[in-house]
Point group: C2
Chain length 542, copies 2
């Protein structure tokens, strides 16, 4: 056994008595008559439940994982044929494509998450990669370099070995499930179990038939040969990821009828009770006292000053500005080439007071970059589709790929600022968001992204002066809206929200940078210096 | 010269006296002062024009093509740094990715077309592939098999040689431009021209610098060595695609200042006059007399009966139905495996009267298929984003990839039925749509897709009976809306629209199939038989 498989074993080999897979009764059978009756009853229930889910906007995610040839595909096909096609989507998860490899692993799952009220069905689950690693490592123990391509390609410097790799998958998957559940999604995780003997019988039957032979690969037979080894590892993985809110359902897939009935039973039971909880929650939203303490973060936080204490006297001399701007922009242009060449993605987050100078600051950064490799992502009001998803979803689908830069002109922090202050989300939503954001940023950080966050600050006096100037300049009047004035009236509420944000989301891997912008030129140079220093530091580590 | 390049030469080598590229004055220079003044003036104009375009919802597409090292990227970067980042998008077009190769060539351009009111900037154009073929064929004339991978991969049986290949690109690109222009887009096509000597100088300079060396490839130097050969071919391509509505602008890119000024001048001039035309058109929409003849199709049309003449007496015996359903579904399941194996995509279009039985018919087809390889695409009311695009855009982004099946429950034909009858689009819109649809389907057909279109028919009497039955069945009442009754009142208008549709879009490569569905069972068997026969025929050809 190589050290590679050893690491995996250490994570997966502590079997205990109560095996998950043994919960499936592979010997169970149904008589035709009983089967037909159950099947029709359960299907009718499910069809009705789907309409209820549409009406109540209750989203369901179903994953169908399991052994090769356990009938995952057939089961999904039979399942959906009675469903309303306008509100389910089937996604077949295979090895990541060339394009998927250029993003953090979980993007391909996040972007496929369906809207409220729909069923999203994943053929294979987000544990696919983890199972794949186990399979590869065991099946081909001679090759001690057999790491999954995702991490070799994504240019990650945090991940060094397979132990971290496995824990990455476990943590990413856990965060994915946690956030969906908190947002109101129901997760139904199914694992289709068959015996070694039955698997071999099916693989051979598929292999013997000319029209199906191409569906069976060498890896399938390998899995069968090493079945006894895998069974422990799979069992352990299932146990590790068998949470109270998203437990595994082990489906006895040995027999066609039993498999169908058990799958339907699980779905009807889980969706029925999930929908009931959903409706109760909707009719009875959580009320949180204003002085209730904010949740503790599991990440290490960096201490931040209060936003009211930011300095307003920092300036730069015009000549010095010109010289430094040119030097820093040239430097950034050069460093961007290196980022591109080394396939490192970068995310720059800009938040700040209205008229603080975000736009001009972004422009000075962007104008140093090659337009083909960066994108400014503005956060306009969410669209209907975006509103019917977790709030981070719209950012998951807008990540920079390896070697590219995304500049966010306002961002996911809207949740804990404008949405909080204006009451666009519930108290529970924005309180939960701090840690959801930290987890999201942690995922970016450790999959190799350089992530920098700027708070562009300006004093109340200077802001007022800029508002007045805009009002009187016909070319700039469009930049000033009634909303800007209203926000200004809510200064104390915004201060509270911003201070909570700075305090709760300044993690050691992604702290906030306060950029004092009463003198916009000073702010531009400061942001550019921070960006260049961060890239330089990262390039030195690699 | 191989036969491969011969074909290309035949298409591209008839140079005449008035060379496109010679329009660029490579000797022109600007003094610093004049340059600065022009640059500032033009930039200010462009910034203002962009805001006008946003306000007037006028969409602009800018392509920047040209020689390697002609400064395409730098020019785009400089251009966008002054633009409002919320309403432009830069797309860098490179060799198609693994995923893009699984769709018709033009999808990757169509899906990137921006919303009304935005600037879409393509680094390299939709002629990229055509230029690539020329470059490859000339540069590597020894390899007579050097066809572009798109067509080898997309499993196309219509395309056999490079001549068709080139004409495919020309035709596809032409259709793309035509449809965008008709929809109100402005196309600004730019080609950056530099001399052989200057290109070599720049390539060598890039190559010599450590931080930029990786940007220069062997192909770039090859292009330079064969510059004299290419210049004729490129010139011919530009001439062929230099249409009145979307002419090429040749930018003298030999000198940095001249390049910038000429590029800005072209943009300001084209956008200014385009916007003026746009506003005039909006204030003065075309009015077409009802009896004005429909446009002639350039495709060969098949004669179709009137929809009122469809038979309503066709039925099938229940026993025969059961036997045939099982046999046809089994056959389809088997054939789908072959489609998947041979990477052939299929599109099934379902249109029909309300309550004609589309849903049930689709279900009988879908239930024979592997759910991981097909998708039912319903045509709900278009979203805001979809409304701000050409009407076919939402279908371009929802095509099946190779080996997959898309079933459209209502489709792009909504344009010439409900949108026409209800007045959701202008007369000009729906009249133009017949040929736009034919061109779209032709593109699907000749890039290898099996495309079948079903009109699911039902008599007025039977429709009424079904409406009444639905009204009285609590489980099915949700299927019946007020709209259904209203549509029924407009029977004569719909008959007219449907007959025009059948007559105008029954091309020889994608004719309509009338599926008589007074007996739904009869209709299901008929549709299945047509699908199976079509797949079988296609598989035999390959």
């Amino acid at each position: 056994m190589t050290s590679n498989s050893d690491n995996l074993l250490r994570l997966f080999n502590t079997r205990d008595g109560d095996d998950m897979l043994e919960r499936a009764d592979l010997k169970k059978r149904y008589e035709k008559e009983e089967y037909d009756q159950l099947k029709d009853e359960l299907t009718a229930k499910l069809v009705k439940l789907q309409q209820d889910c549409i009406r109540e906007k209750f989203p369901v995610i179903i994953t169908v994982d399991g052994w090769s040839a356990s009938g995952k595909g057939t089961s999904i096909s039979k399942l959906v044929k009675d469903l309303d096609p306008r509100s389910f989507m089937v996604h077949s998860i295979n090895a990541p494509t060339e394009d998927e490899l250029r993003y953090p692993l979980m993007k391909r799952y996040w972007e496929r998450v369906g809207q409220y009220g729909t069923f999203t069905i994943f053929g294979k689950s987000w544990y696919h990669e983890a199972l794949q690693i186990i399979t590869n490592a065991f099946a081909d123990a001679r090759d001690s370099q057999a790491a999954h391509p995702v991490l070799r390609k994504h240019g990650d410097y945090v991940i060094t070995g397979n132990e971290e790799l496995s824990s990455l998958y476990a943590e990413s998957a856990h965060m994915f499930e946690r956030q969906l559940i908190d947002d109101g999604y129901l997760l139904v995780k199914c694992f289709f179990h068959i015996s070694k003997k039955e698997q071999l019988r099916r693989l051979e039957a598929l292999h013997a038939e000319k029209s199906t032979a191409w569906r069976v690969t060498k890896a399938d037979f390998q899995q069968n040969r090493n079945y006894d080894l895998f069974v422990g590892a799979v069992d352990q993985l299932l146990e590790l990821t068998n949470t109270a809110d998203a437990p595994w359902n082990i489906i006895a897939a040995e027999n066609r009828r039993v498999r169908r009935i058990e799958f339907l039973k699980v779905l009807v039971k889980e969706i029925e009770s999930g929908l009931e909880r959903h409706c109760k929650r909707k009719g009875n939203p959580l009320s949180i006292p204003a002085d209730f303490p904010l949740p503790r973060s599991r990440h290490r936080l960096v201490e931040m000053p209060k936003v009211e204490d930011a300095r307003h006297d920092l300036t730069i001399d015009l000549d010095e500005y010109r010289t430094k701007l040119k030097a820093e922009q040239d430097r950034l242009a050069e460093l961007q080439g290196e980022l591109y060449r080394r396939s490192i993605p970068m995310m720059l987050v800009y938040e700040g007071w209205d008229a603080a100078g975000k736009g001009g600051n972004i422009k000075r950064v962007a104008s140093a970059l090659d337009a083909r490799d960066y994108r400014v992502v503005p956060s306009a009001a969410p669209t209907k589709v975006e509103k019917e998803h977790p709030f981070l979803w719209r950012y998951w689908v807008n990540l920079p790929k390896t070697g590219h830069i995304a500049i966010y002109d306002r961002s996911w922090y809207g949740r804990v600022m404008v949405e909080r202050v204006e009451g666009f989300c519930t108290d529970d939503d924005w309180r939960r968001a701090f840690e959801e954001i930290n987890d999201f940023e942690w995922e970016m950080y450790r999959t190799g992204t350089i992530l920098l966050k700027f708070w562009i600050d300006v004093s109340q006096d200077e802001q007022l002066a800029r508002f007045e100037a805009r009002k009187n300049d016909p070319d700039k009047a469009w930049k000033l809206t009634d909303e800007d004035w209203r926000n200004r009236d809510k200064y104390p509420q915004y201060c509270q929200a911003i201070n909570d944000m700075l305090c709760m989301t300044s993690t050691d891997f992604a702290p906030w940078h306060i950029v004092e912008s009463d003198d916009k030129r000073y702010a531009r140079i400061k942001a550019l210096e921070i960006i260049n220093a961060a890239i330089k530091k990262r390039l030195e580590i690699e």
